[in-house]
């Protein structure tokens, strides 16, 4: 069953020096599954996620032939529609969590307020659910984190606070933009376990944006590979070793691995026609 359908999406930014084409006509469907998006730095992964969530900043222009989320036409959604959709039915873990959190509000208050905006719960109940969520993402001392401001938390704690805030309402669609890039590997696995169970048990649809191809291949069902604003390849993760595009194939080779000694690391010979 299709949860999200995107047809011919483009995102452009007019600037004084010309038009920046961040996303150039991409199409994909998402069911109740884990879809990975990998791609070069600057290839349009985050901009794709933001466009789906209606979070494209000014003066960005979003165009698409169609963009629907469980029957709702996102292209013509008004502010009231977005208020009921965003946060409760669809949520996005942003790439720069500490920057995206409100700097003058404690972490605890941000999570409980998100929850109370979307559900009728008492203050006490909201607090308990928020604390439980923080514990689930392996925060050592949730009570302490509750009272801290964003600038007082570590990179990985901020990332997990954001994850907790987005999961606490139980969205049907979650876009996670590099959600584990600041986490040590043991915590990373716990967080992936949580996301995995949400897809399996509640049928959540997950778009998992990551630069870590190995992680994506072990965690996701399918993967989209982006380059210069376009999808250059789409694969079942089981078939990753059969990737055809030279960018994807190159990626597999240039990651440093424990116990290997390759100095310098192999790099990609980028070709103009890849960006055509």
């Amino acid at each position: 069953m299709t949860l999200l359908a995107v047809r011919n999406l483009s995102v452009t930014y007019p600037t004084r020096t010309g038009l920046i084409e961040a996303v150039r006509g991409i199409s994909f469907d998402l069911g109740r599954e884990r879809l990975g998006i990998v791609g070069e730095s600057g290839s349009g992964k985050s901009q794709t996620g933001r466009a789906v969530m209606g979070l494209t900043p000014k003066p960005g222009i979003v165009r698409a032939d169609a963009m629907t989320f469980s029957g709702v036409d996102l292209l013509n959604a008004g502010p009231a529609d977005w208020r009921t959709l965003r946060g409760s039915r669809m949520a996005m873990i942003l790439q720069d969590p500490k920057f995206s959190l409100n700097p003058v509000m404690t972490i605890g208050r941000q999570i409980t307020e998100t929850l109370r905006q979307h559900e009728k719960v008492t203050k006490k109940e909201a607090r308990q659910r928020a604390l439980a969520m923080l514990e689930a993402v392996q925060i050592r001392d949730p009570e302490r984190l509750f009272g801290l401001y964003p600038h007082e938390v570590s990179g990985g704690m901020g990332q997990r606070a954001m994850i907790a805030m987005m999961l606490v309402c139980g969205p049907e669609l979650l876009i996670a933009d590099e959600p584990t890039s600041a986490l040590d590997v043991t915590v990373q696995l716990e967080v992936l376990g949580i996301l995995d169970r949400l897809v399996r048990d509640t049928g959540m649809g997950l778009i998992f944006i990551s630069h870590d191809l190995r992680l994506v291949s072990s965690f996701c069902d399918r993967v989209i590979v982006m380059y210069a604003g376009r999808i250059v390849e789409e694969l079942a993760t089981a078939d990753l070793s059969h990737a055809r595009h030279p960018y994807t194939r190159g990626l597999l080779d240039c990651t440093p691995k424990i116990g290997e000694d390759r100095h310098p690391l192999p790099v990609l010979e980028r070709r103009k026609e890849w960006a055509a």
Partner: protein
Amino acid sequence: MTIEIAIDGLSVTFREFRALKAVSIAVEKGESFGLVGESGSGKSTLLRAITGLAPSSGGSITVAGETLSGSRRSHAFRRAVQMVFQDPYASLHPRQTVDRQLVEPLAIHGIGDAETRILRALDEVGLGPSFRFRYPHQLSGGQRQRVAIARALIVEPEILLLDEPTSALDASVQAEVLNLLEEVRARRGLTYLMVSHDLGVVTHMCSRLAVMREGEVVEMLSAADLAAGRTVSDYTARLMVASKGFSREAAG
């Protein structure tokens, strides 16, 4: 061998919370030393304490023979020691173009030839001249991280404190940036203190590393020992297992 960075019994406390509990490490001149460990264990705090951005409440920090006190750092220190922050937004001024952010350190330290240096610095991190007049919010996460690296390298420092410098980069750009960092270090004899949760990256870049947990160093070992699984603490062993990746069976 001379010790370039000596941290001895360093403690950092925020209100009642003890973020670092008497941590000691010594980094040799020209060495690349890694810090790995649990999220929240104090890795960034350690780097910030060196630059005077985190309040030390005990112990000492000696850099290039000079014992530092308080949060004041000399002009010479601020050129010789550059830090790439974990959160690139923290290193970059939100209302200044990339160009301004690169010009400024050059001007402050009286380094000429700005035009050539800026273009070269951007090129080295894989950003063409079209990025020069963008603002931070007009960049992708990885592009911002690369500007922060360019900004640290442009003043030709002697010591680089790198906090997850490639965590937002795809493998192809990461390889280029790691090669650049290695090449610069070899050419100019720089000393690196580098935080990363990616054990592949740390063992590639560093000869020795410290493993941290709850404000303490739980193990100090060579990259070769880590790669061979010759670890002492339980925590390091668990990190090694987890670094093998996600498995649906193990996650349950």
